[in-house]
Subunit: 220 residues, 2 copies
């Protein structure tokens, strides 16, 4: 199968990011024909994700070519870099030219701070909804949101749904379906508690306390 289109995809990496936010869509993108993927950070030094794994970026902000699709995810330590002027300048610069400006999970917060989401609808991790709304973004509780040239996924695992939806937009249904089958995406979650609406107030409160403690442990 040949596809005449060539897309240049940029995934922004940073210390303390949640690997799965970005590895979900990366898995889908890397299965698409004619895709060039860049894993981008300030330097080519390894970054550590919030689950303790070290990944080596392959592209820097300075040597990154113009991107058709730019994507940034969230992370337990994103608050440490969410106002970083170099990151925000890079997002603004690439975002002004990209075909799609995208995020997964708390990555929406970076786009909002770069001024790229004002007046747009966006998904985000459920814990970031209020914060994102306060930044002037029309926050949606949908799992994947497309609003003109902005695309976003909800928390962490939503990156897989996001990636497949983007594959559908760029390459059509048949290719997206093949990739869904190849990554055997026929989910069978053990419980029906994957969103705050389904989980209920009691579990939401426990999860927030648990996350606060985990965050504290990671920061130490």
């Amino acid at each position: 199968m040949r596809h005449s289109q060539q897309y240049v995809v940029g995934l922004v990496f940073y210390p303390g990011m949640t690997a799965l936010d970005i590895i979900g869509p990366q898995t889908v993108f890397s299965a698409l024909p004619g895709i060039q993927i860049h894993r981008i950070w300030k330097t080519l030094d390894p970054i550590q994700t919030d689950d303790g794994m070290r990944i080596i970026p392959d592209t820097t902000f300075d040597n990154c070519p113009p991107l058709d699709i730019i994507c940034i995810g969230g992370g337990l330590a994103q608050s440490a870099v969410v106002d970083d002027p170099e990151i925000l300048a890079f997002l603004r610069q690439q975002g002004s030219m990209a075909k799609f400006v995208t995020s997964v999970c708390g990555g929406s917060e970076f786009l909002a701070r770069a001024g790229l989401l004002q007046g747009y609808r966006s998904a985000t991790h459920w814990m970031f909804r209020e914060q994102l709304a306060a930044a002037g973004v029309q926050v949606s509780t949908e799992r994947v949101v497309i609003d003109r040239d902005r695309m976003s996924g909800g928390g962490v695992t939503a990156g897989i749904d996001f990636g497949l939806e983007l594959a559908k937009v760029l390459y059509g249904e048949e290719t997206a379906k093949m990739i869904q089958l190849l990554i055997e995406y026929d989910p069978a979650p053990p419980f029906d508690v994957g969103s705050p609406e389904k989980a209920g107030a009691d579990l939401v409160n426990k999860a927030m306390l648990y996350a606060a403690e985990a965050l504290n442990l990671k920061v130490k």
Copy 2:
């Protein structure tokens, strides 16, 4: 929330593995209290996953402590290493002591070749079912399979379901539910074609041709 139990988890990394196979469960495991995660390979040199990303292992076969849980995933280039005697010896050695010997996707093939799955039921990626059955394993089409001290997930994205099921076994329902909510695992696949049974013969054939071509491109 304190948990008295401490588990040592070993994730086997290798060149050409599919990152998502292992990052799915790693995301779940890293959110559990009292877990120590090792990313293991022959050396501490970076390995490149089959989507082109470079990851740095933090533990070698030689310096790895005894593992409570050992897990190996599949990958587009797994055939290049699936008979590697060092990998198989490591799996055998650790597998003889571990509380759970586990795999995601084509990782089941490594366990079978190490002699760790004969007489057991196991899930695998749908493309590996016949091959695994030929190795004397009772292949299941379930997404996650628990058979005594063996646990396995189906293809690629099944690693998330697998991770949550293992979290339930080790830490109980409430903790597993909190983590499912924290990683917002409320999947919304764009199509209902995530298994060969659901996809139908036509899409399965197309996907197999597509994968064969992708494999060829990766191998070059």
